[in-house]
Amino acid sequence: MSALIKLSTSEMRAGLLRGDFSAVDLTRAHLERISETNKQFNSLITVSEQYAISRAKLADAELAGKKESSPALTGIPIAIKDAIVTSGIETTAASKILKGFHSPYSATVIKKLESSGAIIVGKANLDEFAMGSTNENSAFGSVRNPWNPDFVPGGSSGGSAVAVSLGQSPISLGSDTGGSIRLPASFTGIVGIKPTYGRVSRYGLIAYASSLDQIGTFGRSVMDAAITLGAIAGYDEAHDSTSVNEPVPDYAAILRAAKDKPLSGIRVGVPKEYFVAGLDQSVEDTVHFSMKKLVSLGAQLKEISLPHTEFALATYYIVALAEAASNLSRYDGVRYGHRSKVNTTLQDMYGHTREEGFGEEVKRRIMLGTYVLSAGYYDAYYLKAQKVRRLISDDFRNAFEKDCDLIVAPVSPFPPFRLGEKIDSPLQMYLADIFTVTANLAGIPGISVPIKMSDSGLPIGVQLLGRAFDEARLLIAAQALEQEVNFDSTAMTKKYGKA
């Protein structure tokens, strides 16, 4: 494999501008890495080789012409979670029901990435329709963890995380509805950001739960994840009515300017409800270790209470599944996607198309979501959950108003586990999200930073949460922690190469 694949995006850009290598060289190096690792790890569903090379040639022309004033990501390869539509490349949402689907439009984030010069090398594997925490629910096979291929990489953005961890691309896009960026980032030893709800346009993200979904970024450093976030964030007045008109700070510049002892005066909340029986010892040790590092960087720790924490998972599962049931009703075989050969009546065609096209977990979630919205149950379940969601969101608002500027928390109650270990018990699987769903319910940003290894030799990250639209402060703290801890997120880029 090429030495280029372990570089940061800044090093890649510097090399491109100096003429050490061309964008075509850089893209070819990554395509080579993909061909030597994708079969084993299954991180990419589609590799867009021809598209990538032709875009790389355009990037070389752009770099030759505009040099330093070329857009920030010119010539930089990126993988895209296959729940984000790309008009030139198939989009499947990792489902049989969308196999062969070619979207007539590209997502807003894709248009923004193309303007920033980034080069899409592939569509990354995920749990089907983003429903899952381990990337074992894909119709295109499970994704494996580079740190140990018998272990799960986390999900639902497992493919996006593994692509970056392995060096198939230096950066990638994922989406996070209940932890689907932060969990795989933690499990694969890289950085993952879920932005504030409304920070990034959802236009072109195949909808799972519309009030919770956000597109976010992965990188092997806070800086790389931040540069990519800066490229995709912003108000989308034309296409996303839930997007918020808040200016996007220059995250990269803010990180470069971050001073020594950047956390002095910053109060970091430690939610007491997150440290309960059942938390794996290595996870608890990781969080305590991180807390010590934050203090050495000048932060003040403060115990806080988020009293409705124990109800967050139940709230999430009602709200998310209800919204999913509604969003997935569009997959009916009429206008796109799989259509069953059963054609006795329209109803039969719908029923068989969806039964044939959706995987088991998706069908389970649709049925549960339908039930909680159905006549006689809507008030008891969905409306009740929306009220508890208000209380959960208020817990965070109160904590940030009175007690702290940031919150530190575990990402998952347990370290990465083996493929197949939890797949037979949906409820056991759902418990993996217990610390991540709260940020989606409250709409606040969160970041996972890799910290140390578990006893079984797999990475464990820590989560930092911030106020809405306060990504800058979150990123500064994450970068400071990352520099203090010095975890090697490039380790897996040096493994699995052909000679």
């Binding site: 409304g198 009916d332 009220k387 409820l427």
Partner: protein, 95 residues
């Protein structure tokens, strides 16, 4: 404690437009009941006078100017369908 009958499961499947083989009903019922039992704990939370939350930042009524814009061509709109003609998407009979 949540309790679902086979008829409840069939009704949910019909509302979800999901064909369900009779042999699949027991497994589906068990999974749904397990999850419903878990989420029932929300009944413990007092929510008198609490406003339901739908948009986290309280955004409402996002409008744009009523100006005609480009939309998909007929060909683009139909290109992914199994059975598309310029008259529309052809489907099996309804009745």
């Amino acid at each position: 404690m949540a309790n679902l009958t086979d008829d409840d499961v069939k009704h949910i499947a019909r509302l979800s437009a999901l064909h369900l083989e009779p042999s699949a009903i027991p497994a589906v019922k068990k999974d749904l009941v397990d999850i419903l039992n878990y989420v029932e704990q929300l009944n413990k939370v007092p929510t008198e006078g609490v406003e339901p939350l739908s948009h986290v930042h309280g955004a409402v009524n996002a409008f744009r100017d009523d100006v005609l814009q480009d939309s998909l061509s007929i060909e683009e709109a139909g290109k992914n369908s199994a059975d598309f003609t310029r008259q529309g998407f052809r489907v099996p009979r309804i009745i």
